[in-house]
């Protein structure tokens, strides 16, 4: 039979047992819907997590430290060498900036100091924020706003710190606080010491104050706890922080080791790559330059593995409903054979080949699969939206930011449709071959 006649007859047969076939198709649709909803949640969560993580700067940032740095928690084995380790100075910073796929290189400025607010002292860690961190996503839901200029005398408070300062944190925005810090002032070389070689300059530490305007309150510091001396609770623009010349943790050590204090030396530099995929190569080139490099790339790899397994499990659970729907198709078609036994006999007597009968049942199964697939994708999409919507209503009540929980990409739609049709055809395999093998003499005798 020609395809058009075959489809014609198949559709006619499907219409004849409308209710039963509609219910079977609905079964397929529910199966596909559960699969699509499950996978869309999986994909959505993965996108959400990887977006958040890439925004956090954890996976595209490399922390560069001098070889002798011991701030990474454990002392690193010092190379037995007479030449001193390469300092992380301005020259090194330019060199790092020139590496391929680097967006920016910025120093880590953090210092522990005292803040006066309403004439009460509070101790905290202050960190300088690079301009680019505005786009990290960590400031998306902040109260107030980001720094008005890269070197403004403004401060963003971490929420816990804001709660320390006031019982009503929101009221802090617009108020002033005083940052008290120790400024490092280089001593003139003549007054440095009396050894006479003039090489070891020292510095004096002078207390200073800076008035800062509170312009925002944020939940967490971006890239908190990574490469720093602890969570900073007061954030100021990086440029502002560097003009302060506040004494840093490394300074004393540098003095003891005899570095030239007049020369700006960074304790560490953060190198941001264009995307996490460049991190591995960049890390290698940075190590070649003679520095230590550290990134969380391995953590991101295991995260991807986690989501692959997660998606697989969701897919398996989603497929269970489709497996049940498959049994529905088998059942419907086997019932149809019993009902249409005589019709099959007539078709064969009129000259239908076994393959004609087989194809007829196959097309019927396929049509139920396609229709079920289309409705299922639509239901699944709606289900995902509904879960997303419900979650966001809940998040809103908890005063949290809305998220896009489910995501139905094109590949999922196409995959679901193909899957529905293939599964339906597999389900049609047995009934179709049974119908084709029906003995026409028996079928015509059957009353």
């Amino acid at each position: 039979m020609k395809t058009r006649d075959l489809t014609d007859l198949a559709l006619r047969n499907l219409r004849e047992a409308m209710l039963r076939n509609a219910l079977t198709t609905l079964g397929v649709a529910v199966g596909v819907a559960s699969l699509v909803a499950m996978l869309s949640l999986g994909v959505g969560l993965q996108q959400l997590a990887s977006k958040r993580l890439s925004q956090s700067g954890l996976f595209d940032t490399i922390l560069v430290t001098p070889k002798n740095n011991f701030r990474m928690g454990r002392p690193q084995r010092e190379t037995v060498s007479d030449t001193p380790p390469r300092p992380l100075d301005e020259e090194a910073r330019h060199e790092l900036e020139k590496l391929p796929n680097v967006i920016e290189v910025y120093p880590q400025i953090r210092f522990y100091t005292e803040v006066r607010f309403n004439d009460k002292p509070h101790s905290t860690v202050v960190a300088g924020l690079p301009e680019s961190s505005q786009n990290s996503g960590a400031f998306d839901g902040m109260q107030g706003h980001f720094f008005t200029s890269p070197s403004a005398d403004e401060a963003i408070l971490q929420i816990e710190f804001a709660k320390d300062l006031s019982t009503n944190p929101s009221s802090l925005i617009g108020q002033d606080l005083i940052l008290r810090y120790a400024e490092r002032q280089a001593l003139p070389a003549t007054a440095s010491d009396n050894s006479g070689d003039g090489g070891d300059a020292g510095f004096s530490v002078v207390p200073k104050e800076l008035h800062l305007k509170i312009i925002g309150i944020v939940e967490t510091e971006p890239a908190a706890g990574y490469g720093g001396v602890g969570n900073a609770r007061l954030l100021i623009p990086l440029a502002t922080a560097s003009t302060l010349r506040a004494a840093q943790v490394n300074d004393l050590r540098d003095i003891v080791r005899g570095s030239n204090a007049n020369k700006a030396v960074y304790g560490s530099l953060s190198v941001r790559a264009k995307s996490p995929s460049y991190v591995e190569a960049l890390e290698a080139s940075i190590k070649n330059l003679g520095f230590n490099a550290f990134s969380l790339l391995d953590a991101s790899k295991s995260l991807r593995t986690f989501f692959s397994v997660f998606d697989l499990l969701l897919g398996i659970f989603g497929s269970l409903a489709l497996a049940v729907a498959t049994l529905g198709i088998v059942n419907t078609l086997v019932m149809a054979i019993l009902e249409r036994r005589r019709e099959i006999g007539v078709l064969k007597a009129l000259g239908a080949a076994d393959s004609d009968v087989q194809q007829l049942f196959f097309v019927e199964a396929g049509v139920m699969g396609i229709l079920g697939g289309i409705f299922g994708v639509a239901f699944g999409w709606l289900l995902g939206r509904a879960i997303s919507f419900g979650t966001n209503v809940y998040l809103k009540r908890q005063n949290l930011n809305p998220i896009e929980l489910s995501s139905v990409p094109w590949w999922l739609v196409i995959l679901a449709l193909i899957f529905a049709v293939v599964v339906s055809l597999l389900a049609g395999l047995y009934p179709a071959s049974r119908a084709a093998k029906l003995n026409p003499v028996d079928a015509l005798r059957y009353e």
């Binding site: 039979m1 014609d8 004849e16 019709e343 078709l347 064969k348 007597a349 009129l350 000259g351 080949a353």
Partner: protein, 238 residues
């Protein structure tokens, strides 16, 4: 009317069924030659094997032994697909219970063999109309079988059997579900079609008087065997 080349030739045909322990000999060593253009009636009581013999000629069933020569081929040696093609292209069949598909209109029922034969869509309406004209039922094409009388349904079935222009028409008790007057008109119609189209007809019936009037030869079966083969009174007249 009988010509030299037989339309169907049965040689020592047997069809045995195994029913548990016992072997049922539905058709037992039958040899019979149906001439091209002949109208043969197969007579016998129920269970005599006449329907089985008809199914064997139709290629719906295969013999346990013996050979059936039709169209120059031995049906016993054909593949299922070749048998289906033989039924489609060479055979037209009508049944006691008409076997029209109830949810299709007359037109669609008659079109069915054309679909199976992959006849061009543009050609189909004229072929259906031609078949309907032959059975004089052109006015009710859009109706469904249940809206017709038994006689009309059988005429639709005949039109469906004719639409592919078969060489052989096989009829299994075509008057069995009809009153005697209607049965007679159906058999008269078959006779008329045979005269016009020159096809071979093999008809299973248990109504000897009707067979005597319309068929050329009568083959009587009993217990799976061919008991006798005689020209009909009508055939004798001719």
């Amino acid at each position: 009317m009988p010509q030299t080349q037989p339309a169907v030739q049965l040689e020592h045909i047997s069809r045995h069924y195994q029913m548990g322990e016992t072997c049922v000999r539905a058709v037992d060593d039958v040899s019979l030659s149906v001439a091209s253009g002949e109208y043969l009636a197969l007579l016998g009581s129920s269970g005599s094997g006449k329907s089985t013999l008809l199914n064997l000629m139709a290629g719906l069933d295969l013999p346990t032994s013996g050979s059936i020569l039709a169209n120059g081929k031995n049906l016993a040696e054909l593949s299922p697909l070749e048998l289906a093609r033989y039924r489609r292209d060479t055979i037209g069949m009508i049944f006691q219970s008409f076997n029209l598909l109830p949810r299709m209109t007359l037109e669609e029922n008659i079109e069915l063999p054309l679909r199976l034969a992959e006849v061009d869509r543009s050609e189909r309406p004229s072929r259906v109309r031609e078949a309907l004209e032959r059975v004089r039922l052109t006015h009710r094409v859009g109706h469904r079988p249940a809206e017709l009388s038994g006689g009309e349904q059988q005429r639709v079935a005949i039109a469906r059997a004719l639409v592919n222009r078969p060489k052989i028409l096989l009829a299994d008790e075509p008057t069995g579900n009809l009153d005697s007057a209607t049965g007679e008109t159906i058999l008269a119609l078959l006779r008329e079609l045979q005269n016009h189209l020159g096809m071979t007809i093999v008809m299973v019936t248990h109504e000897r008087p009707l067979a005597e009037r319309f068929a050329d030869r009568l083959a009587t079966m009993g217990d799976g065997k061919l008991l006798n083969l005689t020209p009909s009174t009508h055939g004798a007249v001719q």
